[in-house]
């Protein structure tokens, strides 16, 4: 697989990421501040105009401006200076000094003072209180411990991991008990609890402990429900439905769900629900041993995936096919949503090739192994992408207006 494909993968994965967005915002500010002030005003007005920048993006852009201010306050030695005279003296010295971005910073400060005239500030939430910052920090520290069990797959699943998750959930709950109900950082803890409960359910499922899995998914569904997280809630419901089918052996229930999607629901454009339903039907027919139907459904599933822009070119290896899959993921799916969609495509093809392997089709086992390895590669590349972004962010955040920033932002 060419590096270009993975590069594109990483780029798509990071599009819309908070830090990536800062890098993009800083790139705009650098471009603007390189111009004389009058021209800078014109360009800034154009860049932040409502037709070019959404409200959310504009809000983010203003935060990026705050970070620029903070970074150059440090460089100019202005941090903690409350005396206006002293401040003015140091600032003038900085402008007359050797910092290559000093002139840009001067332009930047002028623009920052005028920004509300260029475009009105969106409704802003109040800044975080010290309590909120403390709770956020505590949650972040706990998350370092939570991340590994959250990401555990079949090879390393164990009851010990579930116990660890349970203990972390208790710690998050203790933090919540101590926090004021209005503390906005509570959401961070609630998110983590819902995710940890979901992960405990998933690991229980790998360990085939369906009772325990059911309990965790139910708790997770309640947590997601309280957060108003429809996506998480839907995932839990799917898992609970699968467990119900597993524990009752009610094959009709599973088939009915798939058939209803395929015949009744208006499947939104760009959705993989239909492909998912066909692959679920394939799984039913494989279990029953109706090989004739399996073959027919495999063709239909591939046709559906191709219709959605995810072709299965058998002449190519799975990782080569990935190139077109990356481009087919709708632009509004960003970050983890992008990764989720891509993983979904890979899983669907894994289901298709698994069925082909059951039919003893030549080469199906190898293709299936290739897809399994692709799943692993996606995980590693996404971590790599995250590493890269953080390095670029760390490097750029010290001098957001510097020329190196353009490189960091990938421009």
């Amino acid at each position: 697989m060419s590096e270009n494909v993975w590069q594109r993968f990483r780029q798509r994965l990071m599009e819309g990421n908070d830090q990536d967005q800062y890098l993009q915002d800083w790139a705009i500010l650098r471009q603007v501040t390189l111009l004389p002030l009058e021209e800078a005003r014109v360009l800034l007005k154009q860049k932040v105009a409502t037709e070019n920048m959404s409200d959310a993006a504009y809000e983010h852009f203003r935060k990026a401006m705050i970070l620029v201010s903070a970074a150059y306050f440090h460089r100019a030695g202005l941090v903690g200076i409350s005396d206006l005279g002293e401040w003015q003296k140091r600032y003038s010295a900085y402008l007359a000094g050797t910092d290559p971005e000093a002139k840009q910073y001067e332009t930047f400060l002028s623009l920052r003072l005028e920004i509300d005239k260029v475009r009105e500030a969106p409704q802003q939430a109040a800044p975080f209180s010290p309590d909120e910052l403390r709770l956020g920090q505590a949650c972040s520290e706990l998350f370092s411990k939570l991340a590994v069990p959250l990401n555990t797959g079949p090879g390393l699943a164990s009851q010990a991991l579930i116990d660890e998750l349970e203990s972390l959930i208790t710690q998050y709950e203790s933090l919540l008990e101590e926090a004021d109900p209005a503390n906005r950082a509570r959401r961070q803890a609630l998110d983590a609890i819902a995710e940890a409960q979901y992960a405990a359910g998933r690991i229980s499922l790998i360990l085939r402990d369906y009772d325990q899995a059911r309990r965790w998914f139910q708790e997770s569904a309640e947590s997601f429900g309280r957060l108003g997280d429809q996506f998480g809630l839907q995932l839990c419901r799917r898992q609970l439905s699968s467990i119900h089918i597993l524990s009752t052996g009610d094959a009709d229930a599973e088939l009915r769900a798939a058939l209803e999607t395929l015949t009744r629901e208006q499947v939104p454009v760009g959705s993989l629900d239909r492909a998912q339903a066909i692959v679920s039907q394939i799984s039913q027919t494989v279990k029953a041993g109706d090989w004739f139907a399996v073959k027919r459904l495999i063709e239909e599933a591939v046709r559906e995936l191709e219709r959605q822009g995810y072709p299965n070119d058998e002449e190519q290896s799975p990782d080569e096919a990935l190139k077109s899959w990356i481009e087919s993921v709708p632009g509004d799916l960003r970050g983890n949503d992008f990764l989720y969609r891509l993983s979904q495509v890979v899983q669907l093809y894994a289901g298709i090739w698994g069925a082909r392997a059951s039919l003893s089709e030549a080469g199906a086992d190898e293709r299936l192994a290739g897809i399994r390895s692709l799943v692993h590669q996606l995980d590693l590349e996404s971590l790599q992408a995250d590493d890269d972004l953080q390095r670029r962010f760390a490097s750029a955040s010290a001098r957001p207006l510097a020329a190196t920033q353009a490189v960091a932002a990938g421009i």
């Binding site: 959250l150 009752t248 009610d250 041993g289 004739f292």
Partner: protein, 642 residues
């Protein structure tokens, strides 16, 4: 949901990467075990086919078992133990195999203790090999016990699948244990258990629904969508014979209609209300009680190795005869089946050969049963697998054919007789004929079908029986649907349709037998559409080529493991018919007219359908008509509902 948040901290990413890599290594170990297991399975197969020694494979399989144990992978361990047992059975060490299977099955059971839904497929594999081990040791009581356990477990899950084709395929990998169980029960002379097990492998799905339930629409929106799709499909392809890929959108319409049909069946209320309810259990006593003194049953069940169990049942006795079918016997049976599936007119030189093949299959009536049958007047035959295509009624008997002496009808299984017999309804007859056919259907015009139904109508009307006649152009799909919706169709006790029919073996029908068709004047009507009509008929008469055929193979299977009913018979049964008189092969329309008019004259005299068919055949043969079976014997009567 976007979690875990990217860009958290660098050390976390590194940790995660390590975890992922560790995970991948563990997965690779598992994949390696699975790969080695597949390699050894292939190697075993190859050596068995070439009769090469297998012993050196045993230590390699043992290594895999140990590796799986170390990684705590009970599923891989179970599959490896199963392979080990397979090799021990291949090398005639059944006691060793049994010991290993017992241990491994216990380990597997312990490993999956927490599961509410144990993976029965693996447990089933253990039981299958244990049964074979006991069989090699000729311990039939143990074979019967093991198979009994496996059958019981299978039956628990089997009825949780309602989609007909899926349900039919369900026994595919499990049929061998039913057969072993039946064979073992026979060896133990436990004939009732033998029949009870055989019943489980004979058209069980037919027993799942009550006819009353079929007359209710479970979901009117879905029903309407189904009807609309039928219309769209027939608008595109009136004859139903186009290649689905040759007309834009046809394939997807057909596929969607199949899905909705499955949904309608999944939503259909079952006999006992409970979603997992099983069809009624078999009771020998109830079956016997249902028989009249002049009735007997011949019940067939075929094993894989050319052995056929034939049972004779009447009110007093149950006798079982195993028939070892010789190579010649198998050949004559094959010849009959080829003849039955012969499309179109059979040449005059072929007809005697077909008759000879039927005569040479006389072993299907064991000598031991003949004296008992001679004192009966009615015979119910329950064939199995490919015997569903055999015209038993045309077997030589005394100096003629069986049907000349006994009124013959066919039953899918014994259990169908257990329900209390309904009182005959007040007769109200619908007689319909297709044609003249629209050119778009590309069909030969049938000169006699109109005369056939007019002749039948005259017989009923002469007796004052209410009779409706619909011939030619007025017979449309819309008319049938309107009459179905208004309840008029359900008002007929008997419906006769004389037209063109299509074989379940023709083209795509082999894989979609429920889409076999009969033809109206301007469009085809297939099994899926027929199955959604609302009937309440004691009898459907299909005077149409091949219309009584039922699928015995297809969908990639050499035989349908559950012996389920697929084809037009099944469609009418689902719609609410209790018996179907159809044709086993193509029939000449003038011959059909002669036999059918005679049949209806006897029906008008209140004779039961099987007796009327017997009498009509006798009259036809005595009128000097050809005695070639191909000419007179296509018609047969099947009971498909209670």
């Amino acid at each position: 949901m976007s979690w875990p948040p990217l860009g958290f901290d660098l050390s976390l990413s590194a940790n995660l990467k390590r975890t992922k890599e560790e995970e991948e290594r563990a997965q690779q170990h598992l994949l390696a075990i699975d790969r080695d297991l597949n390699t050894l399975r292939d190697e075993r197969k190859k050596r068995v086919s070439k009769k090469l020694p297998l012993e050196d494979l045993l230590p390699r399989v043992e290594q895999l078992i140990t590796a799986a144990q170390k990684l705590n992978r009970p599923t891989s361990e179970a599959w490896a133990a199963l392979l080990l047992a397979e090799i021990l059975l291949d090398t005639c060490k059944p006691a060793d195999a049994l010991a290993r299977l017992t241990t491994a099955r216990a380990a597997w059971a312990a490993a999956i203790q927490k599961q509410q839904a144990p993976e029965r497929s693996i447990d089933f594999q253990f039981l299958e090999r244990m049964a074979r081990a006991h069989l090699l040791m000729e311990n039939y009581a143990a074979v019967s016990a093991v198979c009994g356990e496996a059958i019981e477990k299978t039956e628990v899950d089997r009825y949780k699948t309602s989609a007909p084709y899926l349900q039919s395929a369900f026994l595919k990998d499990r049929a061998s244990l039913y057969k072993h169980g039946i064979g073992a029960a026979y060896k133990l002379r436990d004939y009732e258990t033998m029949l009870a097990r055989a019943e489980l492998a004979k058209a069980r799905s037919l027993l799942r629904y009550s006819p009353e339930n079929t007359s209710k629409a479970p979901d009117s929106d879905l029903e309407q969508r189904f009807r609309d799709l039928c219309d769209e499909i027939r608008d595109k392809d009136p004859s139903g014979s186009a290649n689905p890929d040759s007309l834009e959108g046809l394939r997807s319409l057909l596929e969607e209609r199949r899905r909705i049909w499955d949904l309608l069946l999944i939503g259909r209320p079952r006999l006992e209300g409970d979603n997992a309810a099983r069809p009624p259990a078999f009771s020998m006593q109830q079956v016997r009680n249902a028989l009249e003194a002049d009735e007997a049953i011949l019940y067939y069940y075929g094993l894989d190795d050319g052995v056929l169990f034939v049972s004779y049942i009447d009110r007093e006795q149950l006798l079982v005869e195993p028939v070892k079918v010789s190579a010649d016997g198998q050949q004559s049976l094959r010849d009959v089946l080829i003849g039955v599936q012969y499309p179109g007119d059979m040449g005059e030189t072929e007809k005697p050969k077909f008759d000879r093949a039927i005569q040479d299959s006389s072993y299907l009536l064991p000598d031991a049963f003949r004296p008992l049958m001679e004192v009966k007047r009615r015979l119910l035959i329950s064939p199995h697998q490919k015997l569903h295509l055999f015209p038993f009624h045309a077997l030589p008997w005394k100096k003629g054919f069986l049907i000349e002496d006994l009124a013959v009808s066919y039953i899918p299984n014994l259990t169908i007789l257990q329900a209390p017999r309904r009182l005959p309804r007040k007769p109200r007859i619908l007689l319909a004929s297709g044609g003249p056919y629209d050119r778009v259907l590309h069909l030969t015009q049938l000169a006699e079908t109109g005369l056939e139904v007019e002749g039948a109508a005259e017989a009923y009307r002469r007796k004052g029986i209410e009779t409706d006649l619909v011939c030619g152009a007025p017979l449309t799909r819309k008319l049938l649907h309107d009459w179905s919706d208004s309840g008029r169709l359900a008002g007929y006790s008997s419906i006769h349709l004389a037209t063109h029919g299509e074989s379940v073996f023709a083209n795509e029908n082999l894989n979609t037998p429920m889409e076999s068709r009969v033809f109206l004047t301007a469009a085809a009507l297939d099994g899926l559409e027929i199955s959604r009509l609302r009937l309440d008929a004691d009898l459907i008469v299909l005077s149409a080529c091949n219309s009584g055929q039922r699928a015995i193979r297809g969908r990639g299977m050499e035989e349908l493991p559950g012996d389920e009913l697929f084809g037009l018979q099944a469609a009418f049964a689902m719609a609410g018919a209790r018996s179907v008189l159809g044709c086993l092969w193509p029939v000449d329309d003038s011959l059909a007219r002669d036999i059918m008019v005679r049949f209806h004259r006897h029906r008008a005299e209140s004779l039961a359908p099987e007796v009327a068919l017997k009498q009509a055949t006798v009259d036809h043969l005595q009128s000097g008509s050809s005695r070639f079976c191909r000419n007179w014997a296509p018609f047969f009567l099947s009971i498909v509902g209670s």
